[in-house]
């Protein structure tokens, strides 16, 4: 709690702490922070908006219930983009979450507070949500590990809905081992969640098995194009580490993501969000943050025919990934974000910045496969770079194996020195 009190005025990652946990309250169990779009009994859920959170939540969301049951202690709620919708980490109501590596830069979003709190050392564990990249993008930009699980693996019950086809909940931590432990606690079938899938995730049994014999695919087109050169170099170095550890690298060409991206195939998610927020857009349009409102309005303009086209494109991409994972590779390796964290000064246009930083996460997320961002170095400005590992549906265990092997080989990620001179006061 003292780390939160000391650092939060600068970073603004935590929007409320549980008043039942004072300093010296003698809590036992590992502290964990919950993104403020999930119900925690007794605390209001703001969803990053001025329109929610008037009263405390009456019960825990399913994920929070499982977190508590596993012995973690919920210390508070993390900042987020309004309605989890946008990847900069700005919030017109709660204030922006700053990047602990450089407060002049964006933290990424929408799980901005979850990633920044972990990166700055306020907590070691946090829960975020990921619809189009909202765990992976801030994890990448803040230099921590973030998991988007398989669609339906972690219950969304009691969490704000954006898109039933894409919403997931996942952990953020400095290490793959910690992420895997939290995932093991929250994963599992929930009969109350319409998209929950049955099956035993068994994520931890293989975590120390290494990558020897695994085939890692590098989709050269699209995912390795238009990158900041240091990002490309860092991911190539990470690939070389995997190869040295006994994995086989396979160059692959994925046809669909490029076509998908060019045809703006994932605009269906904008429409899903406009549908999920239709009552607010009807009754309280003016009370939404201007950039979030503008992005939802883009969703309102998409045609049904385009939505239909998105669905067909998505099916084709899923089919391509199915045969790829069935026949050729165990894992895919790509950058998580094409650049390191941009400056706030260059990110006023939230829609454009989101398109840029989430450009490599949207398509994979929509197919429902699990992906994890793992830090893999710093650029010349000292900003963290993230790689994205993806596996077939239900194979989170492979992500943990590879990510853990990488961290054991290269050392755990460097964390920013939060006591460094000049790091004071809101930028």
């Amino acid at each position: 709690m003292s780390a939160i009190e000391r650092l939060n005025p600068l970073i603004n990652a935590v929007v409320q702490t549980d008043p039942r946990l004072g300093i010296g309250s003698g809590i036992s169990g590992q502290p964990i922070l919950i993104k403020d779009c999930m119900d925690v009994r007794g605390l209001p859920t703001t969803n990053g908006s001025s329109l929610y959170g008037k009263t405390p939540a009456e019960s825990d969301s399913e994920t929070v219930r499982r977190v508590r049951e596993a012995g973690y202690v919920i210390v508070g709620k993390a900042n987020l983009t309004e309605f989890c919708f946008g990847a900069t980490g700005d919030n017109a109501h709660l204030g922006r979450t700053r990047n602990p590596w450089d407060p002049m830069r964006i933290s990424g979003g929408s799980s901005s507070g979850s990633a920044a709190a972990v990166a700055s050392g306020m907590v070691r564990l946090a829960i975020g949500t990921d619809t189009g990249g909202s765990v992976r993008v801030p994890a990448s930009l803040c230099g921590v590990v973030g998991l988007r699980p398989t669609l339906g693996r972690v219950s969304n019950q009691g969490c704000l809905a954006l898109s039933l086809l894409c919403d997931t909940i996942g952990p953020i931590a400095p290490t793959v081992v910690e992420v895997a432990s939290v995932f093991a606690a929250i994963a599992g079938y929930d009969p109350l969640d319409p998209v929950s899938v049955e099956g035993d995730p068994q994520p931890l049994s293989d975590i120390d098995k290494g990558v020897r014999g695994l085939r890692i695919g590098l989709p050269r087109s699209f995912y390795f194009e238009n990158l900041q050169s240091e990002v490309a170099e860092a991911v190539e170095r990470a690939a070389a580490v995997f190869e040295r550890l006994g994995a086989t690298l396979v160059d692959i060409q994925l046809e669909d993501p490029k076509a998908l991206s060019e045809h703006r195939a994932f605009q269906f998610v904008l429409a899903d969000v406009a549908d999920s927020r239709r009552d607010l857009m009807r009754d309280h349009r003016e009370q939404l943050g201007a950039e979030v409102r503008r992005r939802i309005e883009l969703g309102e303009q998409v045609s049904g025919r385009d939505y239909a086209q998105c669905m067909r494109a998505l099916w084709r991409y899923k089919s391509e990934l199915r045969s790829l994972f069935a026949d050729r590779v165990d894992l895919l390796l790509t950058p998580t974000t094409p650049t390191t964290a941009p400056l706030w000064a260059d990110s006023h246009d939230m829609v454009e910045t989101t398109r840029r930083v989430a450009g490599l996460t949207y398509e994979l997320g929509a197919t429902g496969v699990p992906s994890m961002s793992v830090p893999c170095g710093l650029d010349r400005a000292g900003l963290p770079i993230g790689m994205q590992l993806s596996a077939a549906w239900g194979r989170e265990g492979l992500l943990f194996r590879a990510g853990n092997a990488y961290q054991k080989e290269t050392g755990h990620p460097v964390m920013p020195d939060m006591g460094r001179p000049g790091l004071q006061g809101p930028a």
């Binding site: 898109s163 039933l164 086809l165 009969p191 319409p194 998209v195 605009q267 269906f268 904008l270 429409a271 899903d272 406009a274 549908d275 999920s276 239709r278 969703g299 309102e300 998409v302 045609s303 049904g304 025919r305 385009d306 939505y307 239909a308 086209q309 669905m311 067909r312 099916w315 084709r316 899923k318 089919s319 199915r322 045969s323």
Partner: protein, 461 residues
Amino acid sequence: MTTEMPSPGDSASVQTRKALANIERWNPLVNAMITVTADEAQRAATRLDRAAEEGEWCGVLQGMTISLKDCIDMAGVVTTGASKILSDNIARSDAFITRRLLQNGAVIVGKANLHEWVYGPTSQSKHFGPVRNPWNPDCIAGGSSGGSGAAVACGMCVGSIGSDTGGSIRIPASFNGVAGLRPTIGRISNGGTLTVSAAFDTVGPMARHVSDVARIFDAIAGHDEDDVASVDRPVPNFLSRLRDPVRGMRIGVMRRWFFDGLHAEVERSVDEAIATFRSLGVEIVELDLGDVERSQPLLAFNILVADALQVHAEQIGRRAPDYGEDVLTRFRLGENVSAVQYAEAMRWMESWRHRLRRAFGRVDAILAPTTPMPAPLADGSDFIESVRQLTRLTYAWSFAGVPALAVPCGFTADGLPLSFQLAGRWFDEPAVLRLGHAYQSATRHHLRMPVCPSSTAPRRG
């Protein structure tokens, strides 16, 4: 004049001869077939019979005569989709299921008429003429698999492959007095067939006997890696258990909405069917599945019209005058759908599927009437309203993606067939087929045959 029905017990050649004779006799009246592949059928039948004489097993269909809805490719034969635009569209190769049928010993007798572009429930096609109902030629045969339903009813084939997006197998099965299975989405490949909506289209078998529907299903179900919607999941060996007793199985019935506003004779016959299941030892469980009334408007008008327009928009831009007016109007409805409306329907779909998952924990199948009325007159003054009504009860199961089997369950006083549908769990076609077969073993509705008024001249228009 009585019709000599081809029977699966006949040799392939005898069955084919009877089927072709019935096509010759009936088709001028009901217009069920667009293309007849008589020569190929006879050759195939001869080959199959010779192989059988030599003691060779030719597959589970053993010479069964089958027609294909004319949206399914057969190499070297035209696939018209009942559209002027495709009237010269010779298929280069077999559809996945055509291949499977032939590999399993089917004799394909030809291509069945349908609603233009697989896109309507009446089969009143402009370019290839309307399909007429064999039980009363003044009535519609239903659609879009209208030719398939009529062809099976009057013995042009033992089985037919139809396709179903919102009800296109079950509605003509109901109106023509035959059984028809809409399988689980992804269970049977759509490779080599015309698309209405990739997410909701599925081909499926039709036949008088549920046991024949089951055999055809067994022959064509299974994964096709070239169809992105196909699901890679083994097909259980269920034919040997088709005749297992159904005592102790549970059927859910939702009286509200599914039984509201029914034609009196539909209600009576479906209630009798429920009583028959009770007498077979099936437990009937009352269910309430919530706002199922939203299924038809949300699937039809928020999703399917957008999906279908997405498929056709470019071609409509070039060739609008070559579309029938009715289908063109319906395609253009898609222009008014927003993605937000589409998203709303997708959200409802998840909620509906979720409710059904829970319901199927309590019951093995859910029984409802297939259509709220028997086949309406083709030129009735209430035709538009009829069209809306006759698709009312089939959309719910399409939306869920679950299998649904239409089974004939009686006749009106005027001699028009009546039908119920059994919806089952995802990938549990065996359960609905078993129940449907048990029902037919206890009843004789499916054995009644239409009488061909062969002395009358072919009708026009």
